[in-house]
Subunit: 202 residues, 2 copies
Amino acid sequence: MPSDMSLLDGINSLRSVRKFKPDPVPEDKIRIILESASKAASGSNTQPWEFVVVRDANVKTRLKEPMLRTWLERLAGSSGMSPRMRDVYDEATEMLRNTEKVPVIIYCCVDLTRVGKSEEVKYASIYPAVQNLMLAAHALGLATCLTVHGSTPTRGEPEVKKILGIPGHVKLACLVYLGYPAVQLGSPKRKPIEKFVHYDRW
Amino acid sequence: MPSDMSLLDGINSLRSVRKFKPDPVPEDKIRIILESASKAASGSNTQPWEFVVVRDANVKTRLKEPMLRTWLERLAGSSGMSPRMRDVYDEATEMLRNTEKVPVIIYCCVDLTRVGKSEEVKYASIYPAVQNLMLAAHALGLATCLTVHGSTPTRGEPEVKKILGIPGHVKLACLVYLGYPAVQLGSPKRKPIEKFVHYDRW
């Protein structure tokens, strides 16, 4: 499945997309995406990742309940939000409300028995793989959105693990929503590097 | 600075390289690499990353001391290592011993005042950017190695932060060694996806 998107163009045009077409994602694309995820480095090359690929609408409907409920609880508890943040959060709420309609949700996990104890090693052994996953999807004309709603102790992780049958020694790191984009977004706007780069010392 | 490496080829050929040529890395390439890092998503698009780019050999020599010492202490405390792990660790030791000769070391940090409190949000807002950084370097013919030696509380982080003047509210997530590769490595070997992918439930 050739894709001629260049590496630098892909990095510079990947956006978080929260609206998807209903079209299913072909099996062979899912395979390439997951293989690409696994090409990332991990602590001592332990490859501690596990991915649960959810396509069944009934399963998604069950997963939506704890994810949406804990999210709305968070929103209710937050105040004084800027208009920009309100927009970001409204989009996130909308995506969560449509969970069962998103073609694929990939639950990205780490097997804690196969990775060092420190939080740095643990997460450095999964999020680079997730970035590969999203970039590979982008190369294949698909869109993604990484979210931690559903993967932290206060955002429904315990319930999600139960629904998916994920064992206790496996930690959810994040979810990736995946499908064909229903919107076309421009390149991401970011701060100029002078704002976050230091030379030789802080 | 055009690079025609495709996105999928780049993902599938990026390797951790621990031996570098002494050649300096051009300023404009460092710039592209850091801009690419910043194109990653982050929690609520807060862009909480900060990068300290170290090229000064004296600074690198000072940084090497706590990083190498804590690493050798770890090695002395470990036993029953497999031959494969011994090889991996020997290479890591060699890279650390040569720290001051590595052209560039990028200390990748998160400003904790700009990111959510949960460890998932914190690290999901830096390691995807680091993967972008390494992929962009790869596109430009450069090689990288991500390591957490120097970025965890028991692996020299406090001393490293002091040497670099990194303030208390900033967490080191990892280091990336960067330079032109002195070795050419083949594509990474990984487990087949059947070993780590589940459909609809674990």
